[in-house]
């Protein structure tokens, strides 16, 4: 997978979450995503950026335009040095929230993207990466 361009935003406030959404929307427009694809990836980014802020205590969001075998897509990576997720399977379960949320963000982001990777351990922080490919 080749990275064509990369931009990052530090996420410390809820205004930064808005900025992440705007950057993701810009990237998906640049790639010529359909309105449905745009909406899906922007919404996924909103979920992950907010988790980064609320549970991770802030971190960085990286937005990349990537290519793989003639396909192009948008890769979003969210990294924090927060408390980490003790039980990833539980965190991904629909309806589970350790806070006051609906518990649908992590699972929802996974369903809204094509590739989904999560790397997290207690005390180590959390890194979530998703890709949505442009429809051919």
């Amino acid at each position: 997978m080749q990275v064509q361009s990369s931009q990052s935003i530090s996420v410390r406030t809820s205004e930064d979450v808005v900025a992440v959404r705007q950057l993701v929307r810009k990237g998906s427009l640049l790639l010529g995503f359909t309105i449905v694809d745009q909406t899906k990836i922007v919404t996924a980014s909103s979920e992950l950026a907010r988790n980064l802020l609320i549970y991770g205590g802030g971190g960085v969001a990286i937005v990349e335009i990537v290519q793989n075998g003639g396909r192009s897509g948008l890769r979003l990576t969210f990294e924090d040095q927060g408390p980490g997720i003790p039980d990833i399977e539980l965190a991904l379960r629909d309806g589970y929230s350790s806070g006051t949320g609906m518990g649908l963000g992590l699972g929802g982001a996974k369903r809204l993207s094509h590739d989904f990777e999560i790397d997290s351990a207690p005390g180590k922080g959390t890194r979530v990466s998703i890709v949505r490919w442009k429809a051919l």
């Binding site: 809820s14 959404r21 309105i35 899906k40 919404t43 909103s46 949320g101 699972g107 929802g108």
Partner: protein, 286 residues
């Protein structure tokens, strides 16, 4: 020099001091003052000098908390508040008190011959006036903050108009990002409006909301539930196809809520439910 003597000196040279202070203020403000601004400034200056002289009769300049200074403190707070409202800059506001130093010290140096005593008097007065200046700035700052907070509240209200579009039917068009602060205000004003208009149906239009994530969905569902407790049903309109698809992928269950793609569609449902209907027909005048 005892403060009572200073008070007497101020009394005897009152007019001259006032004139000099006013002209140095006009100079520091730097911009052209309207006739009414000039009048206000003259009146303010006269009042301050009078209060200052009266204060000196009973209180030490250094002892700012003395009861004798209460009137001047009140006066300065009120003056700063009105200057903040009228758009005076911070330095214009601060210079009101500070610009009194020069003419006042000039007056003192004409009066006190002993340089050591003169120095001490100037130092004392200077510290006292500095404190009045700081009080002025604090009050100015506080008023500015109040003005900004009020404007923010007004904007929050402005951005969430609850409109009565029909007998018993309310509509709230939501526009922009729904950060929790605003959503709270929207929810409250919608619920209040439901009660005050005795409406049965509220249409929440999200056409202007670019992203509906789980946080927005949660706020919407809470609003719908609260409205239901008040006896009103909600219809969510502006659920475009891409939003509907995304909500389903998120796993949010909106099946308990009536949703419509357009505001017109929602209005139609609302009218049917309330028993009213729009009938196509000829205009009344024809």
């Amino acid at each position: 020099m005892p403060t009572s003597q200073l008070a007497r000196l101020l009394q005897n040279s009152f007019d001259q001091l006032l004139a000099e202070w006013k002209s140095s203020q006009f100079a520091t403000v730097g911009r052209r003052l309207s006739a009414s601004d000039e009048n206000t400034l003259s009146a303010n200056s006269r009042e301050f000098l009078t209060l200052f002289r009266q204060g000196l009769e009973t209180a030490e300049v250094q002892d700012q908390q003395a009861p004798g200074w209460a009137p001047i403190r009140e006066f300065l707070v009120a003056l700063s508040a009105s200057r903040a409202k009228e758009g005076y800059t911070p330095s214009e506001t601060a210079s009101f008190v500070f610009s009194l130093k020069e003419p006042l010290f000039k007056l003192l140096s004409g009066e006190i011959k002993d340089p050591v005593e003169l120095n001490r008097e100037i130092w004392n007065l200077s510290r006292g006036l500095d404190r009045f200046g700081l009080l002025t700035m604090e009050a100015y700052q506080k008023s500015r903050e109040e003005i900004i907070a009020r404007q923010q509240r007004e904007m929050l209200e402005l951005s969430t108009p609850v409109v009565r579009i029909w007998d018993n039917i309310l509509a709230v068009p939501l526009i922009g990002t729904l950060d929790s602060n605003r959503t709270q205000v929207i929810m409250e004003s919608l619920l209040e409006a439901i009660v005050s208009t005795r409406s049965d149906i509220a249409i929440i239009d999200i056409t202007g909301v670019p992203t509906v994530d789980t946080l927005v969905a949660q706020h919407l569902l809470k609003t719908v539930a609260a409205a239901r407790l008040m006896g009103a049903d909600c219809i969510i309109s502006g659920v475009r196809p891409q939003i509907a698809q995304t909500i389903i992928h998120l796993g949010v269950d909106l099946s308990a809520v009536t949703t419509k793609a357009t505001l017109a569609g929602a209005l139609q449902v609302a009218l049917q439910r309330t028993g009213a209907a729009i009938v196509k027909g000829h205009g009344a005048g024809r």
